[in-house]
Subunit: 241 residues, 2 copies
DNA sequence: GGGGAGAGATGCCGC
DNA sequence: GCGGCATTTCTCCCC
């Protein structure tokens, strides 16, 4: 049988604490939440991250960020997990009514995930393969920082017209078009030139966003994000999945 | 000692499966990832959501959405968790090298979280208290749907000028200002009128976004999002935290 | 620490 | 299903 004192001790030792409990939860900070009684999974990590998961869905129902202080408080028959983040003015209180299990493993993990196929890979790919944008395109720079944001790819088209490319690894939407428009306007005004082209590079675009894009005189180029991991000696392909 | 067969059985029974294992992980789908050996926490929920957590941070390092099929596959001495989502063309493979613990609780939870202080609460509050926007403001509607997005609050100012309010519960940034501009332009063109005001209502705004806002002739109104939970009989305040 | 923007975003609601 | 958008977004990077 798990006792509340076991959880208390594990938190004090800053172990990875994983338990399940029937509970109610209240949170107040950036918003205010209330969760009625039910069984949930709690994870308190060594960096003091707290996650509370219900039995469905990817996102935690409640959570606290690192730099939170966690305490077990007993008030007569009732036990609480009280988590407080002074700096962020957030606190959470869970009334723990029945503990189902507790695990406090010592976990060793130095690895960092390697990821391929993000927007950076896409702009790198277009910079290295400018003919994919259009024949004669000459890239000048990547991640050009302007006061109105930073531009993915920047260059000249075959006619020598300054061209801004905004990459999206997913369906481009209104806000992607807005972003491109903001950059084009900023470059026009800061460089004092009249003609700047805008190209949206993405695997897809919503029909409304495409209409808006064309209304602003911009064009869409269908580009798939590349998916190649940097080679490393221990790395295996997924081909044999 | 936990055996791989115990995990296999728990997955088949569609229980909530929580275990820790030294492992390597590879994923391919929307992107491609590789994670070298380390100890991680695995959660497989009854809705087939998979979460893999490292010892730091709020976000899972790898995950699969509901409608994924999970299988334990043994290949000689080596055991894998293979998770495949056909519809989303995603798959994940974890080589499980040492299981530290396994828990397979039956969890009952019908509760849904109640949340106060979101953007909807903010626009409701402004609709009900238009003097908070400015004296003489007369709201017309909330969540007006336009082809270019939906408008939070819509009304007339004291001079009878059509006014659009965009609410943000956090620091308003460039994209919030972009959004407001998109709505104002859309209303101008669809109603064929020249003068439409735009107001950004938020607790804070980045300095650059404020400059851009003012350049476009819009104004910022500092408004805090309200934090009041709807009363319910079982609900208790957080005053005694 | 603030600003800016991506994310294998997730989740919600509306059509 | 797609579209549009908020999120206690989270995370990363750069200034």
């Amino acid at each position: 049988m798990v006792s509340i004192e076991d959880i208390e001790q594990a938190i004090k030792e800053r172990r990875t604490v994983i338990f399940s409990s029937r509970c109610t939860i209240q949170y107040e900070g950036r918003a205010k939440t209330h969760l009625e009684e039910g069984d949930r999974i709690f994870i308190i990590k060594p960096d003091s991250t707290l996650l509370v998961h219900q039995v469905t869905g990817s996102s935690p129902v409640n959570y606290m960020k690192p730099t939170t202080v966690h305490k077990i408080v007993k008030d007569g028959e009732v036990a609480y997990l009280k988590s407080e983040n002074i700096r962020q003015k957030e606190h959470l209180r869970a009334e723990l009514r029945q503990i189902h299990f507790l695990e406090t493993p010592m976990l060793k993990d130095e690895a960092k995930i390697q990821l391929a196929g993000n927007e950076k890979d896409m702009s790198d790919f277009l910079y290295a393969n400018p003919e994919m944008v259009e024949p004669g395109f000459t890239p000048l720079s990547r991640e050009e920082h302007t006061k109105y944001g930073f531009i993915d790819v920047f260059g000249y088209d075959t006619n020598g017209v300054l061209t801004i490319i905004e990459c999206k690894r997913y369906n481009a939407d209104f806000s992607a078009v807005d972003q491109l428009r903001r950059y084009v306007e900023k470059i026009k005004s800061s460089k004092g030139i009249d003609q700047v082209r805008g190209i949206m590079a993405s695997p897809a675009i919503t029909s409304n966003a495409k209409t808006m894009l064309e209304n602003w005189g911009f064009t869409w180029k269908k580009i798939e994000p590349p998916k190649k991991l940097t080679k490393s000696k221990n790395q295996k392909g997924l081909g044999d999945f």
